[in-house]
């Protein structure tokens, strides 16, 4: 459903490149020798059966896990080991498989939290909530309100997120990730556990984010229909290995992928 053409993506500037990544916990190999790239402006999907290493891959990208082997190049800069907040500083933002909102805070505060990196006013002004600190607060409130409008969650602005239904929580989480104005947005199963209507809403938001803000998105998703519709390119993982990489149509036709999903013995 994307308006971009294959040619756009092929000529697109490379945003992120992972090279020969291997990650293991004790003896368990979660990821083995995986390489792929993400170009600017695309929606890149990572799919695979359960335990394929998809979430581990996202965790590697945003610095939560440190791969034993391999490198990650983001915005032309190669890095090996970094703390997650540094990934955030570079412009990588994400949502989580199991909603990881700040349960004790309101929707507004959660999305404001996404703008943490953009707020700098020092302790002195914070103490008095005056002058620069107050102006900063209000300026960011304005930006947050835009996101709230965009996601159509105005009525729940002041509600503590712990009290929201699951679908809305997912939406707030997306809002929080967007608030950081990321150059790369990682979505870990944004539609898990949703009903059809909610899925449609969420798909629409993802496409809108991609097209209105031009945000590059990498997403993990189980619903094949959704993935095929949304994604520009797809990486398929199975047992920590990459088994296919390409346009939706190519991946769909790949024998390895079909085997993996149908469960052919390895």
């Amino acid at each position: 459903m994307s308006l971009k053409t294959v040619a756009d993506i092929a000529t697109g500037e490379e945003l992120l490149h992972v090279d020969d990544i291997s990650l293991s916990f004790g003896g368990v190999k979660a990821i083995q020798d995986i390489s792929f790239d993400i170009t600017k402006g695309e929606i890149r999907a990572i799919i695979g059966p359960n335990g394929a290493g998809k979430t581990s891959m996202l965790n590697v990208i945003n610095g939560f896990y440190h791969p034993q082997v391999g490198t990650i190049t983001f915005l032309g800069e190669e890095r090996r080991k970094m703390r997650p907040y540094m990934a955030a500083c570079q412009g990588i933002s994400r949502t989580f498989q199991n909603v990881a909102l700040f349960a004790g805070m309101s929707t507004l505060d959660n999305i404001m939290a996404g703008r943490s990196l953009k707020m700098h006013k020092n302790f002195f002004w914070q103490m008095f909530r005056y002058g620069p600190a107050l102006n900063e607060e209000i300026e960011h409130r304005r930006a947050v309100e835009e996101i709230i409008d965009f996601l159509e969650i105005e009525p729940i602005r002041k509600t503590p997120v712990g009290q929201l239904p699951y679908g809305l929580q997912k939406r707030v989480e997306l809002g929080r990730a967007l608030a950081a104005e990321p150059s790369l947005l990682l979505l870990d199963e944004p539609m898990a556990g949703m009903n059809l209507e909610e899925k449609e809403d969420m798909s629409r938001f993802i496409i809108d984010v991609n097209q209105q803000f031009g945000t590059t998105i990498a997403l993990i998703e189980h619903d094949m229909g959704v993935v095929m519709d949304l994604a520009d390119r797809i990486v398929v993982l199975d047992y920590g290995k990459k088994i296919a990489d390409g346009l939706p149509a190519q991946v769909q036709a790949d024998q390895n992928v079909i085997d993996a999903y149908l469960g052919v013995a390895h």
Partner: protein, 358 residues
């Protein structure tokens, strides 16, 4: 009926981001302040001011300090008593070295010393969580208690090992020492507590407070949002210990008049933790409610049997007090983990819709 927000439209984000967006709340605050600053000094007797209001305010401040750490940042501490002690001993040393500097300035400065010590013992919190942290704060508690005894320099080599508050004046009025009037001491304590509560509220509602709450609610997500755990946790330890330190210094200078190490022992750490839990984790109002509750409960327990003409052993009352506090801690944790502050909120909610049930 009087507590309505209907009709109060906010036209700017500034108005909506205000700490008390509702008019009636601002009025209520004004009334409380009026009572505290005018009515109590005028009508309260010495006992009420010295033995109820002053300790209540001081413990409220300490509870705010601990609440910043436990309630807002989710880092548990059993070292509050010792951090209060650092403030007290620091203030004592400062006023010995600089007898001419205004004592209020010194009280506030002593907070910086406990902030530094608090940060030092907060360092392990970067690698450990939950009750593992209890051990490091217990280490702080016991180690600092030992320092308060074994470093005689801290108490000016007094034979008794106690710090005794010298007489100091503020703008020509005796503010500390036995000759200071209860009202003077009360007003100074009140002013410091009000200003520091206001500052705490500002910090909590701003960028830094949000960072603390992010760490509390989901530290991993917070880090992935760009919060440096080091900065967030250490700043919480620093601010928390600062508040506790100032509270400790005020406790000795404006309330007790003299103190030995036992005034900063682990029982105080517990007491303040209880104030935070019963008052409400993550609530400034709760810190006040909790402090009032824990401090006033035994006084009421002592008064009740007497009003009915019963003579109950002082010890029995103390035992019953322990049982009630212990029971209430469990009760609140089970029924209302947000403590008295939530009950307070519910009461306000009821008031808002009164006379209808909802």
């Amino acid at each position: 009926m009087f507590y309505r927000e209907a009709g109060q439209f906010k036209t700017t984000y500034k108005a909506d981001q205000a700490i008390f967006p509702i008019f009636q709340d601002r009025m209520a605050i004004a009334i409380y302040l009026l009572i505290a600053f005018v009515a109590i000094p005028v009508f309260g007797n010495d006992f009420f001011i010295t033995s109820m209001m002053i300790p209540f305010l001081i413990f409220s401040l300490a509870a705010i300090g601990l609440n910043i750490l436990v309630g807002y940042t989710g880092q548990i501490s059993l070292g509050t008593g010792a951090f209060m002690g650092v403030g007290a001993y620091a203030c004592y040393k400062l006023t010995t070295i600089f007898p001419d500097i205004n004592i209020i300035v010194l009280i506030i400065s002593s907070g910086f010393f406990s902030a530094v010590i608090g940060m030092l013992f907060g360092l392990p919190s970067l690698r450990i969580k939950g009750f593992y942290l209890v051990v490091t704060t217990l280490a702080a508690q016991f180690f600092l208690e030992w320092c308060f005894i074994r470093i005689p320099w801290l108490y000016n080599y007094n034979d008794s090992g106690a710090i005794e508050v010298p007489q100091r004046e503020v703008f020509g009025i005796i503010a500390t020492g036995a000759s200071a009037t209860p009202t003077t001491r009360y007003l100074i304590v009140l002013a410091i507590v009000v200003v520091m509560t206001w500052i705490a509220s500002n910090i909590i509602h701003g960028r830094i407070g949000r960072a603390w709450m992010m760490i509390r609610d989901m530290d991993i997500a917070a880090e992935l949002m760009g919060i440096r755990p080091l900065n967030a946790k250490l700043s919480a330890f620093a601010v928390s210990s600062f508040y506790c330190g100032v509270a400790g210094a005020m406790m000795v200078f404006f309330w007790l008049g003299a103190a030995e190490v036992e005034s900063f022992d682990i029982n105080h750490s517990f007491l303040i933790l209880f104030m935070v839990v019963i008052g409400g984790l993550g609530s400034l109002v709760g810190s006040f409610l909790g402090a009032a509750f824990i401090w006033i409960l035994p006084v009421i327990l002592r008064a009740i049997p007497r009003t009915f003409g019963l003579d109950i052993n002082a010890a029995t009352i103390e035992h019953v007090n322990f049982m009630i506090i212990g029971g209430l801690i469990i009760f609140f944790l089970i029924v209302e983990p947000h403590g008295l502050a939530r009950l307070w909120g519910l009461a306000k909610q009821k008031l808002r819709v009164w006379p209808f049930p909802y």
